[in-house]
């Protein structure tokens, strides 16, 4: 290719040539062209290597890696055996929980059988001034087991919460100890007195 001869043959530089001519607009265009074609200094050859060696050791922040992981699509594969196995394991789990629950319920029932049983002590003695009940459940101490009677009633009443078991007891009517006349099951106490016998709960408890 034939090279073009330069437009400014004298030894004056291109810029001064333009400036002297006072062609400011043309000079501006000339400057733009010169800036565009301004030679560059070659970067050192090791620049790329050193940058790449460093960046390979860098890690993105954890939140970004987590975000990228969450956004990237996943392919899930499974064999037909898998859902069957999962369903079987689920069924075993459900039944295990159910039986465990039932067994726990049975324990509760048994435990509940050990709970207190309300027992109403009643004595039909309208002329009495005070009636107490004493027994093996309160160590034969009358207080505070005082029976009450309503004005319009003839019966003295007291309800106690007792554990299942076998008890002996008697009433103390106006200071005198008497067995319960309404039950026929009495027992001697070895000191010439008779006590009534109360059996609560199942046979095992008595």
């Amino acid at each position: 290719m034939e090279k073009k001869e330069p437009k400014h043959p004298n030894r004056e530089t291109a810029l001064s040539y333009r400036a002297n001519a006072g062609e400011s607009e043309e000079m501006a265009e000339q400057l733009k062209t010169m800036i565009r074609e301004m030679p560059q200094i070659e970067p050192p050859a090791r620049l790329l290597t050193s940058v790449m060696e460093t960046v390979k050791t860098k890690k993105r922040p954890f939140w970004f890696r987590a975000y990228r992981w969450a956004r990237s699509p996943r392919t899930i594969t499974f064999t037909p055996l898998l859902p069957v196995t999962v369903m079987a394991l689920s069924a075993i789990l459900v039944f295990s929980v159910f039986f465990l629950h039932e067994s726990k319920n049975r324990n509760i029932t048994l435990a509940e059988s050990r709970k207190s049983i309300p027992v109403e002590f009643a004595l039909d003695m309208p002329d009495a001034r005070s009636v107490y009940v004493v027994g093996s459940f309160n160590h034969w101490v009358p207080q505070p087991c005082l029976l009450h009677k309503d004005n319009d009633s003839t019966r003295w009443l007291l309800t106690l919460q007792l554990q299942p078991g076998r008890y002996e007891y008697a009433f103390i009517v106006d200071g005198k100890r008497v067995p319960n006349p309404e039950t026929g099951f009495n027992q001697d106490d070895g000191f010439g007195n008779k006590n009534s016998v109360l059996a609560l709960g199942k046979e095992d408890d008595i």
């Binding site: 400036a19 010169m34 970067p43 790329l48 940058v51 970004f64």
Partner: protein, 187 residues
């Protein structure tokens, strides 16, 4: 994400997406593409080949570290240039060095293609030398605005982005930069 085969110029945004997917090696394409511009920026700023090399390296490493913050749809080069300018400004603030560039750094080639070219090369060398010296007398914002606009071929909007300026202020920088350059060269 995979890059196209062959030597076809791959779009910056595609390269960035590939890098963020975990392909670190794709970053070498970006480094090769812009190392000249960034190194020359640093060379203009520091006047030292070694400092320019160190600052260019730091700029590329810093850009890599912040790449996940790069806004999709924007141009990569102005963003990279902003990082480079900040690094250079920090460097100058800490080192308080004067910017100097040797005329010897402005070689424009060798070999004679036609009779009498030697004289013309001398003229051209003087012209580029004077231009370089005149550019270095300009304030940083004016000089870099002119280089980005005319040497790197960025649009006014992209120059504004790289320089963190409003487009109107950028146009003013370029216009005044040219006027100042003309004044320096004709004085």
């Amino acid at each position: 994400m995979s890059l196209p085969d062959g030597n076809a110029k791959v779009d910056d945004s595609l390269l960035i997406a590939t890098i963020l997917e975990g392909d670190v090696n794709a970053y070498s394409t970006l480094v090769l593409r812009y190392q000249g511009a960034i190194f020359n920026l640093m060379s203009r700023m520091t006047g030292s080949y070694e400092d320019a090399a160190d600052l260019a390296q730091e700029t590329f490493i810093s850009a890599y570290e912040q790449l996940h913050r790069f806004q999709t749809g924007k141009k990569f080069f102005p963003w990279l240039y902003t990082i480079g300018l900040n690094h250079a400004r920090n460097f100058l603030r800490h080192n308080k060095r004067k910017q100097m560039v040797s005329l010897e750094d402005c070689e424009i080639g060798s070999g004679l293609d036609y009779p009498g070219q030697q004289e013309d090369n001398v003229c051209a060398k003087i012209d580029y030398g004077r231009l370089h010296a005149a550019l270095n007398q300009l304030p940083l914002d004016y000089r870099e605005a002119l280089i980005l606009r005319y040497h790197e071929g960025l649009s006014m909007e992209e120059v504004a982005e790289a320089m963190n300026l409003r487009p109107s202020a950028t146009k003013m920088r370029v216009h005044r930069g040219l006027a100042k350059l003309r004044e320096i060269l004709t004085s």
